[in-house]
């Protein structure tokens, strides 16, 4: 990153060899006149100590000598940091070099940022944007983002799924601090397991991802950075209540133990114990639930080593189904019930060897072990799943000759032990995958960047996998950037965990054949244009992506009696086109308008051969509009988002109970779910140490009328709660406060 060596010219004037203080001036050189200009407010400190000073308006500083070190660091924003070895001199004249390579083009203070330098098309959701939507966890963090949308899966379990490029969130590789996190069985509720207040930022990469983190990214990758022990507030408390009766408490603590060690604790507890049935179908609109979620981590940072160790623990309990269902009625037909208990434990470590004099070089090791254990029931059906996971990734990065050519290479190992049982059907799978990767980056003045990567993995069950990926970025001007990417993705699906919501039905689960891994190719291109309209600034982003499946898991629900899983027999693809306009008409005022078009099709095995059908539950069109306005210092903040979701295909949901009793096969006709609007808004008032916020979701109070088929006869064979295409709950109002003690 720091490409040019820091240039420092300092002339020494010897005054007194015994001086106890060091004084001097910090200057910058004017580019044209070559004269020295003083820098006001530059930081001057002894390396590794708290002893510091800053320069006054004439660029002067004075700092007492310390015994621990003779390295004096001089820093100022926009200039290259410099470290000077001090001997006997007591008067310095320091000239800081203007930092031509300042990489902080991404201003994290803005609500929505586009990473201009990354060769991958990346959007960043910052803490500020996250605060726009107070609620609650990762699944709800994408509300103001046009690329990722939340999809509704069923009307009972309360699990939320996301979609990107027209495909389900399981095709996105979701990492937490670059460790694969939401995968395998955790894909059911995983997004609900990362509380919003823990999140520092979210990077959303569209299209094929980097090979460094594995082969599983098919439509994109999401990386979540959590609050760091050495940077986040000493104490952060957030409470939240909503009109459904959900309560939430988050407490984050950070403590700097000494110069090198720091520790952080992130905690979350939330619960809903209020039975609500607003649509009067006899079923709870939301399951009752409680969640306790904790992370404790330790960080060690020195000049040469950065290390982190941590533990995570999670417990969640859900109970849903019919209004009058009680836990004791489990396994009976007295009332239909749904229950799920999840325990998740994880230990992780990250160790990096740094080379302070060679900032381009680094060696990192990530080690991670986790256990996911879930026990669920849907009426009379039981489903238990357990996953043990081990993950290790060793990464070495360096350059070839100059920083124009850099590379990352390394070895990885992934072990998964799945043990699932649905009713009497056992699903056992042990995966052991050692792999190696190499990624080469060519960078020409940040104008043209090419990243070519490949990895080879030796899968114990599915053989050797070769995963190539390519990313190109070309900046035509400072305002115009073109990007293109192509790459292969590979993943092993877990049908029951991924279609969990559809298990809340009388559909019989049929695994027609042994399911092969999913393999896809993703191609895409994007154009980012920044513009100025008088005083107003803004950007336009247009992108197109296509995902082509060589094999895909098909979950066939065309026949209301079955949920059949089989391998793709024919074509399956997803085309995604998106256009987004951002405008900043005035200071602290943002507008965003986005339109998205999806064309997602999948070949289904029908009675009379294969047919290519539009994928269910995917709207062809979607429009998003977001407006945000803040007063200086965010004293008041206003934010509103309107989304319009177009029509989508849903399976045949007609009343076929009678027909089937007469033994007549229903026609496989699908129906279309209507389009609908969704409006969310929030107001925040900031005080010096705390904020209060009030907001609402689904303010238009749109509800799907009958989200559950045959809700009155849950043990009848036509019962199906897995066909929710829209909001099940109506308008929701929430309020909360945040309290902070900054360090």
């Amino acid at each position: 990153m720091i490409r040019y060596l820091a240039g420092v010219f300092f002339s020494l004037c010897y005054f007194s060899a015994t001086a106890q203080r060091i004084s001097g001036s910090v200057n910058e050189q004017d580019a044209t006149s070559k004269t020295l200009k003083p820098i006001t407010g530059a930081n001057v400190y002894w390396a590794g100590t708290a002893q510091s000073a800053s320069t006054d308006t004439s660029g002067r500083f004075s700092i007492p000598r310390v015994r621990q070190t003779n390295l004096l660091v001089v820093s100022f924003v926009g200039f290259t940091n410099d470290t000077i070895k001090i001997a006997q001199e007591s008067e310095l004249e320091i000239v800081l070099r203007n930092d031509q390579t300042l990489k902080e083009v991404v201003v994290r203070g803005n609500a929505n940022a586009i990473d201009r330098l990354s060769p991958h098309q990346t959007e960043i959701i910052t803490t500020r944007a996250l605060a726009k939507a107070a609620c609650c966890n990762l699944s709800e963090s994408f509300e103001t983002n046009a690329s990722v949308s939340v999809s509704y899966s069923d009307a009972v379990t309360g699990s939320k799924q996301i979609q990107m490029l027209g495909l389900s969130g399981t095709y996105i590789q979701t990492n937490v601090e670059n460790i694969p996190a939401i995968r395998g069985l955790a894909s059911t509720f995983g997004l609900n397991f990362i509380p919003g207040t823990w999140i520092q930022s979210i990077d959303i990469g569209k299209g094929a991802g980097s090979v460094v983190n594995g082969y599983e990214s098919m439509t994109g990758q999401i990386n979540v950075e959590l609050q760091k022990p050495d940077t986040h507030d000493k104490l952060y408390l957030n409470t939240y209540v909503n009109s459904f009766g959900r309560g939430e408490l988050n407490l984050n603590l950070a403590h700097q133990i000494n110069e090198k060690w720091s520790t952080g604790l992130l905690t979350h507890g939330s619960t809903l114990q209020n039975r609500i049935d607003r649509n009067k179908d006899g079923f709870l609109d939301l399951p009752l639930y409680s969640q306790v979620n904790v992370i404790n981590r330790w960080k060690y940072q020195s000049d040469k080593v950065m290390a982190q160790f941590g533990v995570k623990a999670l417990y969640e309990d859900r109970l849903g189904g019919q209004q009058n269902f009680q836990r004791e009625m489990k396994g009976t037909t007295q009332a239909y019930g749904f229950g799920a208990t999840v325990n998740r434990y994880e230990v992780f470590s990250k160790i990096a060897r740094l080379f302070p004099d060679k900032p381009y070089k680094g060696l990192g090791l990530v080690l991670n072990a986790s256990l996911y254990d879930s026990k669920s029931y849907f009426g009379l059906n039981k489903y238990n799943g357990k996953q043990e996971m081990l993950y290790g990734n060793l990464i070495y990065q360096s350059i070839i000759g100059s920083t124009n050519h850099s590379y990352k290479t390394g070895l990885s190992y992934m072990y998964d032990n799945y043990n699932e049982r649905y009713q009497t059907l056992p699903l056992l799978r042990k995966e052991s995958v050692p792999g190696a990767f190499f990624e080469y980056t060519f960078n020409h003045l940040d104008k043209f960047v090419a990243v070519a990567g490949g990895r080879v993995d030796f899968h114990n069950l599915y053989g050797t996998q070769w995963t190539p990926r390519l990313h190109l970025k070309y900046s035509l001007t400072d305002q115009t950037t073109l990007r293109a990417s192509a790459g292969k993705g590979f993943r092993v699906s877990n049908p029951l965990a991924e279609y969990y919501g559809n298990l809340v039905s009388s559909r019989a689960v049929v695994l027609k054949e042994s399911i092969r891994p999913e393999v896809s190719w993703n191609y895409g291109a994007s154009l980012t244009q920044e513009y100025k309209l008088g005083e107003m600034t803004g950007s336009v982003i247009v992108d197109y992506y296509r995902t082509d499946f060589q094999n895909q898991l098909v979950a066939d629900m065309e026949d209301p009696r079955y949920l059949s899983f089989y391998n793709l027999n024919g074509r399956a693809f997803a085309n995604s086109f998106q256009a987004e306009v951002n405008l900043v008409p005035a200071k602290r005022f943002d507008l965003k308008l986005a339109y998205r078009l999806f064309d997602v099709k999948q070949t289904m095995d029908g009675i009379d051969g294969q047919t290519l059908l539009p994928r269910m539950m995917v709207s062809r069109d979607r429009v998003l509009f977001n407006a945000g306005y803040a007063l200086p210092y965010d004293k008041w903040k206003f934010d509103a988002t309107v989304q319009w979701n177009g029509k989508k295909r849903i399976p045949f949901m007609g009343d076929m109970g009678e027909h089937s009793e007469h033994g007549i096969l229903p026609e496989m006709t699908s129906t279309m779910a209507p389009s609908f609007y969704n409006l969310n808004a929030q107001i925040t008032r900031t005080f010096v140490k705390w904020d209060i916020y009030v907001g609402g979701e689904n303010l238009g109070d749109f509800r799907q009328k009958n989200p559950i088929m045959h809700a009155d006869q849950p043990f009848h064979q036509a019962f199906d709660a897995g066909m929710a295409w829209g909001p099940v709950t109506g308008r929701m109002i929430y309020a909360g406060f945040r309290y902070k003690i900054t360090r």
């Binding site: 306005y629 210092y633 206003f638 238009g700």
Partner: protein
Amino acid sequence: MKKTIALFATAILMVFQVAMADGDKVVKIKTTAVCEMCKARIERTLGLSKGVKESNLDLKDKTVTVKYNPNKTSPEAIRETIINTGYDADDQTANMKAHDKLPSCCRKTAAPH
């Protein structure tokens, strides 16, 4: 739905109006701010306090220029806020308790400059 949008728009407009009300007064107060961190801290704390529209600290002469609504606050109250943040305000000295909570680089005892 439309109603809600309209309501929201009115709310935003009202805030605009409030922000643009005239009759605002300006006061200049000399502080003991040392660095950029002090500047940010004082400006934010003042900016978030009642009746203050704008606050701008010039590190050269350590003077903060505050634009305020005289119906809601007074120069005395503004000085009080500065003192409670840990800095001197004109001839009034800082609240020591608040001052001692400041990071070492922002304290008056930080190396003279």
